[in-house]
């Protein structure tokens, strides 16, 4: 055992032991542990395998930046891949397993990938697209292998049993980060009376202060601020919450892990909550992330960030090793060395700087630390875990100036400086600039004036500076929001730990190499994506030198790392190779999410049937009670068919359609779009928006109309009735109800502002019922009161008012089926009552309901166009509707419909197709001449298809080149998907009763 739990100290609760397992082995853990700290306390050093080479990896960090310790968490429906062990709070019953390894993380056969390393360096995948194996069977074989090997954790396959919810938050000041700067900012803003939301990703407030030894002076400071904040009703503190995205206009995405820290959320509680925060000002107190050092074997388990080691010792009371090497190029690691020595480890501190600040040097030597200035770790030794470090004196560029000496150790703690966490700041289109003195990217100016960085996030300096900086940022944010109370004074900062100001006197150290400039072994710049310095070198050699190219070619900074650890070291290496400054190389663009978030949280309650609203007609329940099989039509559910004993869809619709032609049928058409067009200029408006004339339509009549888009293609069709002098009732297709209304509003509000017309959606206010068939009039005569429905009084395209069961209704005589037919418009709430009255009266007439499938069969028999023909690429000429277009007036699209390409005589044009044989054509089948090649896009396509009971055969509508001149020709109908070819005869699309005698009966 080398890593172990300390007998005392830490911020864990030793009175609350937890039952945790890793790969089936029990792990001792206490409340307050993270999964990573519990693993370390149990000397579980090897916890993962790397992405590409399957090299053994151990816990590297103590935070969101963790690249290695990604594990499978929980089981069953709660299974979760790629969980960062450093961010998982230990809980009773926690089950974790290693991932990306087979058969186990300790013995992973895919570690053989390392032997292939020379062939799977940067860009290897792209290279498989070119060269000798491209498109060969061998490449296909490799492709399969590559795909299987790619990826880390395995996703779950079971339904997630947990609840998630979505909320909206509004505030004056959003503070991101609950460390010293963020707490001070929230305090200033809160005292001034602003509405404040403070978001911290950890379970505890405190940030870096939590890594100080228990009893540190900062504990009292933290407690005082915490209690003052919790007493403020205008400050809302969200812990276990991550601001993952910063969006335009000061909108932020936050996911709060409400009950992720227990085995299962309490009944009725959400596991996670997605909050959309809208704020006036934001303080980014996001801190900084420590940078690794790049040297040979720097990925071995036992190499860890120095700040993380300090966290494990002080916060979790875990001593991750006995014989430590701490390697640094800045002041911050001295606190780690001090705390390790205090915990009983023997510590060698190698500082690449030739001169070390005096007080730090004398202090650490006094604490028993073996300090070696001007030295660096050249490489890490050991298999499976660190067993030694090769230490050598180095030049300013990081080249060894003498042969290295190996010292035995079981842990190497590294600090290459710190990188301000600018992901969120940068998401709002801002590029940070490189500060050479502080050796990090810093936020540049406030190009988004509502957002300010504070503390470590802008490399402000040490602890006291961060507190003052945060407080000032909070105060300034509040002034902008108009709060007037005084914020008071900056809280006095506690005594800092040694080297708390990492920005002071840092000496950049990008790669530690041998005297020849090469690293001593594989030196990783991106642990998560297995990117080494030689991959960067390769990218440079092959011309991928721009920063965005470098990222994509090598994959550095991708996946969950998102540049947190890898970015600066990779850029620095490229800068060296290009002989440029890091500032000139630049940095990549950061995009949300900052850390991975679950789809469940984003979806909230909008899953399954709640994904979007389902629209139901007011007659819906009757349909279900009478066995209707429903189908989706946009957001609507409509009866598809009403099966009688044993019928499938085909048998049912054929029977229903035949029944309509022989007796009488009833269908719910409430889903049709309905728009009230009202005002003195209503007729002029209709005259402009429809292709046909409307000025002469008298009150009491209705007319079929077609409308075009501005570009001259067909948009929609439907009937419009003139209810009164200035009052029209427009109907649209079900699918286009909303677009037609929006288009009408656009024209009236942006172009035709002189027209006095109102358009109002009344789709939901009216139920609509079509009654069709030879006996329709006889049936209605028995049930509609106060109306004369006789042939003479109510011819086709007329309407009348009447009454059914006491309900005032409007009866439009119009036909979609081609039969004698009426559409009855009923105030929506009475839809079912009127429907049932009609059903009750229909007995003697053998009235039967029919669904959308039979409705479709009837309209194809008549050759009416519908959705499949009004598909946005068809013109009036294509659909043989040009005869409706007025030549006497302009209308929407009247000029552009005459563009040469739209009037080309060669365009596919609407025809009918009589299909040979028992099998019908499938929509989307292509049409080819009887003889000739079956190549390309053919001469047209099938749009709608049905079996016609009236004709006793399969028929279809389609668009065919020069269609009208090819009547009687035989064509081939080719279904490439089903690999079937049918023969068909081209006929008029008016298959049945072309003279329209039946509907005029």
């Amino acid at each position: 055992m080398t890593a172990s739990r300390l007998p005392t100290g830490g911020r864990i609760d030793r009175s609350k032991p937890l039952s945790v397992t890793f790969d089936g082995r029990p792990i001792d853990a206490f409340a307050g542990d993270s999964l990573a700290s519990a693993l370390l306390a149990n000397d579980e050093i090897l916890v993962g395998r790397s992405f590409k080479y399957h090299r053994p990896r151990g816990v590297f960090s103590a935070g969101v930046e963790e690249p290695n310790a990604l594990v499978h968490l929980r089981t069953g429906g709660r299974h979760e891949p790629n969980a960062r062990a450093t961010m998982v709070e230990a809980f009773d019953g926690l089950v974790a397993n290693a991932q990306n390894a087979w058969p186990s993380v300790r013995l992973d056969v895919r570690a053989a990938n390392q032997l292939l390393a020379p062939f799977i360096g940067a860009g290897f995948y792209y290279k498989t697209f070119i060269g000798p194996f491209r498109g060969t069977r061998f490449w296909m074989f490799c492709e399969r292998f590559i795909r299987r090997a790619a990826g880390m954790g395995s996703p779950g396959t079971l339904e997630d049993p947990d609840r998630y919810e979505t909320v909206n938050l509004f505030c004056d000041v959003l503070v991101v980060g609950g460390g010293p700067a963020g707490l001070s900012a929230a305090l200033a803003a809160g005292r001034a009376g602003a509405q404040v939301v403070l978001v911290e990703q950890d379970a505890q407030l405190g940030g870096a202060l939590l890594s100080a030894p228990i009893g540190d002076p900062s504990d009292a400071w933290l407690e005082a601020i915490r209690s003052e904040l919790s007493a403020m009703s205008n400050v809302r503190v969200l812990t276990r919450a991550t601001v993952f995205g910063a969006y335009d206009h000061d909108v932020y995405g936050v996911v709060e892990r409400v009950w992720d820290h227990v085995a299962a959320a309490p009944e009725g509680q959400p596991r996670q909550r997605f909050a959309v925060v809208r704020t006036k000002r934001t303080v980014m107190a996001t801190g900084a992330i420590e940078r690794p050092l790049v040297f040979g074997g720097n990925d071995r388990p036992g190499v860890m960030l120095a700040g993380a080691v300090r966290s494990y010792v002080n916060r979790y009371a875990v001593l991750p090793g006995r014989h430590m090497v701490v390697a640094t190029n800045n002041d911050s690691a001295y606190a780690t060395a001090r705390d390790l020595a205090a915990a009983g480890a023997d510590v060698t501190l190698v500082d690449a700087r030739q001169t070390v600040p005096d007080e730090l040097a004398s202090q650490s030597r006094a604490e028993g630390v073996d300090l070696r200035p001007g030295c660096a770790v050249l490489s890490a030794k050991g298999r499976g875990r660190v067993a030694g470090a090769v230490i050598a004196p180095v030049s300013e560029e990081g080249r060894a100036t003498a042969p290295g000496k190996t010292i035995a150790c079981d842990l190497i703690a590294v600090s290459g400086g710190w990188s301000p966490t600018l992901h969120l700041w940068s998401q709002r289109q801002q590029k940070p600039v490189f500060d050479a003195e502080k050796a990090c990217f810093v936020p540049a100016g406030d190009t988004v004036p509502t957002m300010t960085c504070a503390g470590d996030a802008r490399a402000a300096g040490g602890l006291a500076t961060a507190i003052a900086d945060g407080f000032a940022a909070g105060e300034n944010a509040v002034i902008a929001t108009g709060a007037t109370n005084a914020a008071g004074h900056v809280p006095e900062a506690p005594e800092p730990w040694p080297g708390d100001d990492w920005t002071r006197g840092i000496a950049p150290l990008w790669t530690v190499t041998r005297a020849d400039g090469k690293p001593a072994g594989k030196a990783f710049v991106d642990l998560q994506n297995d990117v080494t310095t030689s991959d960067i070198d390769l990218a440079h050699r092959e011309g991928y030198q721009a920063v965005e190219h470098l990222k994509r070619y090598t994959t550095t900074g991708m996946a969950t790392d998102q540049g947190k650890l890898s970015n600066v070291n990779a850029l620095a290496r490229m800068a060296q190779l290009r002989d440029a400054e890091i500032a000139d190389v630049g940095t990549t663009t950061f995009r949300p999410p900052y850390t991975p978030i679950t789809i469940g949280a984003l979806a909230g309650n909008e899953t399954g049937h709640h994904f979007r609203a389902t629209r139901l007609t007011t007659i819906d329940e009757w349909h279900r009670e009478h066995g209707a099989v429903m189908t989706e039509a946009g957001a609507w559910l409509r009866p598809w068919y009403y099966p009688e004993a044993g019928e499938d869809v085909r048998a049912a619709y054929v029977r229903e359609a035949a029944h309509v032609r022989q007796h009488v049928g009833i269908v719910d058409v409430s889903t049709l779009g309905k728009i009230a067009v009202q005002g003195p200029d209503a007729a002029e408006f209709l005259n402009r928006i429809y292709i046909n004339g409307w000025k002469t339509l008298p009150v009491g009549r209705l007319r079929y109309g077609v409308m075009l888009r501005e570009d001259g293609f067909v948009f929609d069709d439907g009937a419009t009735a003139r209810l009164g002098e200035h009052d029209y009732f427009m109907s649209t297709t079900t699918a286009n109800a909303a677009p037609v209304l929006a288009f009408a509003e656009r024209l009236l509000q942006t172009a035709w502002t002189d027209l006095e017309v109102h358009v109002t959606s009344i789709t939901d206010q009216w139920a609509a019922i079509a009654v069709a068939g030879p006996k329709a009039r006889d049936l209605l005569a028995t049930v509609v009161g106060d109306a004369d429905l006789s042939r003479e009084a109510l011819p086709n395209n007329h309407f009348t008012h009447g009454r059914i069961s006491g309900v005032e209704v409007r009866v439009h005589r119009m036909s979609y089926s081609g039969e004698l037919a009426y559409e009855i418009y009923v105030p929506a709430l009475f839809g079912r009552a009127v429907w049932e009255a009609l059903i009750a009266a229909g007995g003697p007439f053998n009235l039967k309901p029919y669904g959308t499938e039979a409705m479709g069969a009837l309209r194809v028999e008549k050759g009416h166009v519908a959705g499949p023909e009004l598909e946005g690429r068809t013109t009036l000429n294509d659909l043989r509707l040009e005869g409706f277009a007025s030549t006497k007036k302009p209308f929407v699209g009247s000029v552009l419909r005459n563009r040469p390409a739209l009037t080309d005589a060669d365009r596919p044009t609407l025809v009918g197709l009589e299909i040979d044989g028992e099998v019908g054509a499938l929509p989307g089948s292509l049409l080819f001449a009887a003889a000739g090649p079956t190549e390309g896009r053919g001469e047209g396509w099938v749009s709608s298809t049905t079996y016609s009971p009236a004709l006793g055969r399969n028929i279809a509508m389609g668009l065919l080149k020069n269609g009208p001149s090819r009547m009687g020709e035989t064509v081939r109908v080719v279904d490439f998907v089903g690999d079937r070819t049918l023969k068909a005869t081209v006929v008029s699309h008016h298959f049945f009763d072309p003279e329209g005698e039946r509907q005029n009966a």
Partner: protein, 88 residues
């Protein structure tokens, strides 16, 4: 997410609106028969970097068409008026 100051409804989320494109184009008069005028209106757009006048339809709100002045670089919205009150 953009937040649009609708003159009728106040400051509302972009998700309540639908985008209607360039608002600086003027629809030709109905009697216009020159296809070029219509092509310009329907197809040709400037795609400016910076200040842009654009239509937004408050489709989930008051259903008014709005003319929004937005900077295409910073997304800052500096004006929002009812389209019917903006002389095209």
């Amino acid at each position: 997410m953009l937040r649009i100051p609708c003159p009728i409804c106040g400051l509302r989320d972009e998700t309540e609106f639908s985008y209607g494109g360039d608002a600086s184009v003027k629809r030709p008069a109905m009697a216009e028969t020159d296809p070029k005028a219509w092509m310009d209106y329907v197809f040709y757009r400037g795609n400016p970097r910076g200040r842009h006048l654009e239509y937004w339809h408050h489709v989930q709100g008051c259903r008014q068409w709005l003319v929004v002045e937005r900077d295409t670089v910073s997304h800052v919205i500096s004006g929002c008026r009812l389209a019917r009150e903006v002389s095209p």
